[in-house]
């Protein structure tokens, strides 16, 4: 019996370490998932800021990029792209803008979250400048043109003729990171 007690103690210790490690693994899956999404573009997430180099422009073909906007859960804002779509060569830089206006009656901070369809094309959409990199704070009644500069990686598959970039605007008041330097214009 005494032998069993020692053996049991060892078994239990090993198993408890395993359980604690698995609890940690559950949390480790969170950053792991984000890294995986950034590398592969799973879920249609575009990655962060891209430093523009000297890209070849593939003049032989055109790709249409469509812009879409939606608001999460009755957000009392106006939010729409100023151009609905652009046609461009892979590698060619384009600057577009979304318009946002705070009609909520109070100062609010929002965050735009991008999504690309088809999802696998997210890694080919490179942004050098985007309003989605930061939170946006606007006072009541203020509106603002929010710029986004991007190009498509020339290695984007040949069969892709059209991709959609969609932004959803979320109320980020609870998750304020730093005071925004943006100033809107009163309409």
């Amino acid at each position: 019996m005494a032998v069993n007690k020692v053996k049991n103690k060892k078994t239990v210790l090993i198993l408890i370490v395993f359980v604690v490690a698995m609890f940690g693994f559950g949390y480790a899956l969170v950053p792991l998932y984000n890294v995986l999404c950034n590398i592969t573009g799973l879920n249609g997430k575009t990655s962060g800021q891209y430093a523009y180099g000297s890209n070849e422009i593939d003049k032989s073909r055109w790709v249409t990029v469509e812009f879409d906007a939606s608001k999460n859960a009755h957000l009392p804002w106006k939010f729409y792209p100023l151009v609905r779509k652009v046609k461009l060569h892979p590698g060619e830089m384009k600057r577009i803008a979304y318009y946002a206006e705070n009609d909520s009656g109070k100062t609010m901070t929002v965050q735009a979250i991008p999504s690309v369809t088809p999802g696998e094309m997210a890694i080919y959409l490179k942004k050098t400048e985007c309003f989605c990199f930061d939170q946006q704070t606007l006072k009541n009644g203020e509106g603002m043109d929010m710029p986004m500069v991007f190009h498509l990686d020339p290695s984007i598959p040949k069969h892709i003729k059209r991709i959609t970039l969609s932004y959803t605007l979320f109320d980020a008041s609870k998750f304020k990171q730093k005071p925004s330097s943006n100033t809107g214009r009163i309409k």
Binding site: N4, K7, N8, T11, V12, L15, I16, F18, V19, V20, M22, F23, F25, G26, Y27, L29, V30, Y33, N34, C37, T40, G41, L42, N43, G44, K45, N72, A73, Q111, I113, T117, G119, E120, T168, F170, D171, A172, K174, F175
Partner: protein, 536 residues
């Protein structure tokens, strides 16, 4: 004198109460704790069963008859959570407590006090879950999968009760699993190697490792929900940089192995019963062990087949589709081995065997509909329809639940010392087996025709099949009262006495002790000769 008499009876009553509390609340005996698990599982079974009856009553006709949509949502959520965590899992844990020490020739579980703790956490977990119905505001109403953001941003206040209930269930399962592993690894009778163990012990050894691997991940996931709800984190909220889809990945990383946590002990039970009533050793014992291990390993690599329509990439869809299909191979090994065990055996069909054969046939139907669902293009059509409901009820009801019924009839004589009523058992089987098909088979057609899950109302063209399914469900529910009555009468010793071996073909150490199994067994380790115990 006349004033003294009540005082004395009172004192004996107090003594009796004290003895009762000491026996059941403080018990560290594996048989007592096993019995407590069974009682809990039975109580929750009838509560969650009543919820199912309410769901089917509402769906008997199109339109809203009995309940409002929000209450309907609470019913499906609690029915699912309680049937999985409150019925199937505690039943098989109870069975492990009762049978594993007996099968291994051990005097008790390795850690008896921990065993007491892991049981007594559970009633409080389910109390919390059921209390959520009585709180102001709705009970959890987002389905048993509690997807974010339904359960985070939009979850009712009672969601926190559910979160703590899941924490408690998780702790209980983890402690139970540690105990089972320690018992199996350290307390086998001298001479019994791992590959000599009854297959039920093997199925539980592997299940326990699955529990240890995924329960902590579930605990982490609900903790993230909790901090998202109250402490300003944003694991699942895009506004703060999180991702609701991450919830689904985490949940199904737990959820798919969970499916096998439920079904592997059921496989173990069936693998004990079929050889007994075929009077032949289990065909392909070694392969059965490898098949269980294979299923367990593959179960970690298939979680995203629950997420084919979330927009995951084509490569991921193909990977998860093929790995899911691969699980059919070890599962097929098991089904063929059960059939081969029966082949040319001297078979008799007592109630446990009827449920075991019913299990093999009906579980296979559920397996095949699972294969249909594993195909990505087909899943795009089936996803979130009644086809999915039909599929998982086929693997859970005539799968896990039939196996539980078979286990009850098979070992009840050993537990109580009395045979159950065979005629009533047969009635229970046939009513259950027919009604389960009447209930769930039409759901395949409903799903293929496009009826969505989790909706209390439906289009008129679905009326007939829903009425049939509801009638089947009511018969199924009523038939379970037969089981309850049969068990109560057997426990009260109303039927004939059982022999020690109970069944003619039964082999293994548990059949060498008296019926009913004495409170303490195998205080000295028994001699183990593999050939005599049907393990080879």
């Amino acid at each position: 004198m006349s004033e003294l008499a009540p005082a004395i009876t009172n004192r004996t009553f107090t003594n009796k109460m004290l003895a009762f509390i000491k026996r059941w609340l403080f018990s560290t005996n594996h048989k007592d704790i096993g019995t407590l698990y069974f009682i809990l599982s039975g109580v929750v079974f009838f509560i969650a069963g009543m919820m199912a009856m309410l769901i089917r009553a509402e769906l008997y006709q199109p339109g809203l008859q009995f309940v409002q949509p929000d209450f309907y949502n609470q019913m499906i959520t609690l029915h699912g959570l309680m049937m999985i965590f409150g019925v199937v899992m505690p039943f098989f844990t109870g069975l492990a407590n009762w049978m594993i020490p007996l099968m291994l020739g051990a005097p008790d579980m390795a850690l008896p006090r921990l065993n007491n703790l892991s049981f007594w956490i559970l009633p409080f977990a389910f109390l919390l879950l059921i209390l959520s119905l009585l709180l102001p505001g709705p009970a959890p109403n987002f389905g048993w999968t509690f997807y974010a953001p339904l359960s985070t941003q939009y979850g009712p206040p009672s969601t926190d009760y559910m979160i703590f209930a899941i924490h408690l269930m998780g702790i209980s399962s983890i402690l139970g699993a540690i105990n089972i592993i320690a018992t199996i690894l350290n307390l086998r009778t001298p001479g019994m190697r791992l590959m000599d163990m009854p297959i039920f012990c093997w199925s539980w050894l592997i299940t326990a490792f699955l529990l240890l691997a995924v329960m902590p991940v579930l605990a982490g996931t609900v903790t993230m929900m909790l901090t998202d709800r109250h402490f300003g984190t944003s694991f699942f909220n895009p506004a703060g940089g999180g991702d609701p889809l991450l919830f689904q990945h985490l949940f199904w990383f737990f959820g798919h192995p969970e499916v096998y946590i439920i079904i592997l002990p059921a496989f173990g039970v069936i693998s004990q019963i079929i050889p007994t009533f075929s009077r032949k050793p289990l065909f392909g014992y070694t392969f059965m062990v490898y098949a269980i291990a294979g299923i367990a390993i593959l179960s970690f690599l298939v979680w995203a087949h629950h997420m084919f329509v979330t927009g995951i990439s084509l490569g991921a869809e193909l990977f998860f589709m093929y790995v899911t299909m691969l699980i059919a191979v070890p599962t097929g090994v098991k089904v063929f081995n059960w059939v081969s065990t029966m082949w040319r055996g001297a078979m008799t069909f007592e109630t446990p065997m009827l449920f075991a054969v019913g299990f093999v046939i009906l579980f296979t139907i559920g397996g095949f509909s699972g294969l249909m669902l594993s195909m990505v293009p087909a899943d795009f059509q089936y996803h979130d329809t009644y086809f999915v409901v039909a599929h998982f009820h086929y693997v859970l009801v005539p799968g896990a639940l039939f196996s539980a019924f078979a286990a009850i009839y098979y070992w009840l004589p050993k537990w109580t010392g009395h045979m159950y009523n065979e005629v009533m058992g047969k009635w229970h089987f046939w009513l259950t087996a027919i009604s389960v098909n009447v209930t769930f088979f039409p759901m395949h057609f409903l799903g293929l025709a496009g009826m969505p899950r989790r909706i209390p109302d439906y289009a008129l063209q679905f009326s007939d099949f829903n009425a049939i399914a509801s009638i089947g469900a009511f018969v199924f529910g009523a038939a379970q009262l037969l089981l309850l009555y049969n068990i109560i009468q057997t426990v009260r010793g109303k039927y004939k006495k059982a022999t020690d071996q109970v069944w003619e073909g039964a082999k293994g150490l548990e059949w060498t002790v008296a019926s009913p199994a004495p409170h303490h067994t195998f205080s000295t380790p028994p001699k183990f000769i593999p050939e005599q115990h049907g393990s080879k």
